[in-house]
């Protein structure tokens, strides 16, 4: 490599660093300017999400429907035995999670809720995070809220957790010393390498990500970003993720649920 090219690279790196330093902490995205990742999808991917027979996420939804009606555990009961027809009883539920659990004294997300139901009502072993079963059930339950506006519960007990999530979202972390907000609030709509930086609204989880070639949860997506910042990811189910999920849902309040969404 020639000296000139080398110094040009250093210059580029230095100006990048300066660029990051110059990013003043901006305010949250105004409500009217929020956009779902869907708005920036390529036409092909939009068509894939819109057509239930082309959307691969529907394979998980179908599987979830089977599980919903399957008897399981020592209690030999199915989700449907208590909750009946999910189309009626689960409508809008995914739009309200994470919600506060009085027994635990902290919020839990939908996946954790499913597993608590399994442990307490069905007396069955919990599903592992990111297992096909858990993703299928949460995709099936999430699908019942499609089109419903995200409505975080107006529960005073959640407030400190939303604040904790906001704090996390705005704190720099990892070897790259970045915060979520630096990309998703301050620079959304611009590009990071070739990819568009989305505003990070969790409207479609669990969703089918083409890169994963599978359905994944919001926690898996958060892990991705945390690893990308070269920080240590939390274990699945950690309360840090739940606070962050809670803040993200609050940040996306009113936006319609798209589960199961398709993303690149």
């Amino acid at each position: 490599m020639s000296v000139n090219r080398k110094s040009a690279r250093y210059l580029a790196a230095a100006s990048m660093l300066l660029g990051f330093a110059a990013m003043a902490a901006q305010a949250e995205i105004p409500i009217g300017e929020r956009r779902s990742g869907y708005a920036d999808l390529a036409p092909d991917s939009k068509a894939m999400q819109d057509d239930d027979t082309a959307n691969p996420g529907m394979l998980w939804v179908l599987e979830g429907e089977t599980l919903w009606n399957a008897k399981s555990g020592a209690a030999n009961s199915a989700c449907a035995d208590c909750h009946n027809d999910a189309r009626a009883t689960m409508k809008g539920v995914a739009a309200r999670y994470p919600a506060f659990d009085s027994k635990l004294g902290r919020p839990i997300d939908l996946e954790q809720r499913i597993n608590f139901c399994r442990a307490e009502r069905q007396q069955a072993p919990a599903y592992a995070f990111e297992s096909k079963e858990l993703l299928s059930l949460s995709a099936f339950i999430g699908k019942q809220s499609r089109g419903e506006p995200i409505a975080p519960p107006a529960d005073e007990r959640l407030r400190p957790f939303v604040e904790a999530g906001r704090e996390q979202f705005n704190s720099r972390q990892g070897q790259l010393n970045l915060s979520c907000a630096q990309c998703h609030d301050d620079n959304s709509g611009k590009r990071l390498a070739g990819s568009l930086i989305p505003q990070a609204h969790p409207t479609g989880y669990p969703l089918y990500r083409l890169e994963w070639q599978a359905v994944g949860s919001l926690q898996r997506r958060l892990r991705n970003c945390i690893v990308g910042m070269r920080a240590e990811p939390y274990d699945y189910g950690a309360s840090e993720y739940v606070s962050l999920e809670l803040y993200l849902m609050w940040r996306a309040r009113g936006m319609p649920i798209e589960t199961p969404a398709v993303r690149p």
Binding site: T53, N55, Q213, A214
Partner: protein
């Protein structure tokens, strides 16, 4: 996993061009990857897909390792007569799924 999603119009007029869509759940493991301990992950893919309309073959595809998971096929045919459209996927490790849909042609 749930097998396959099929979309065939229930009714069509004779001579109409109809669109058929199929989506099947499959990991499509290429056989070129290694596990974290360096052990090769054996190939596990769908190798063929066949669609027949009243036992007459109307579409066939041969699949290769470069094809992504959960293969989606969409194709067109002419609605000639009422009957059954059958779909068969075959693959490694004895993978076999058969589905069918009926169509009424007026």
């Amino acid at each position: 996993m749930a097998g396959a999603l099929i979309n065939v119009p229930k009714k069509a007029k004779r001579g109409d061009v109809i669109e058929i869509k199929t989506l099947i759940s499959h990991i499509m493991e290429t056989g070129f990857r290694h596990s974290t301990t360096g052990v090769p992950i054996p190939r596990d893919i769908i190798t063929s897909f066949v669609c027949t309309y009243n036992n007459e073959e109307i579409f066939r595809a041969v699949l290769y390792p470069a094809i992504a998971a959960n293969p989606f096929f969409t194709f067109n045919t002419i609605a000639t007569e009422s009957g059954t459209i059958e779909f068969k996927w075959q693959g490694d490790n004895g993978f076999f799924v058969a589905e069918q849909a009926s169509i009424t042609v007026e």
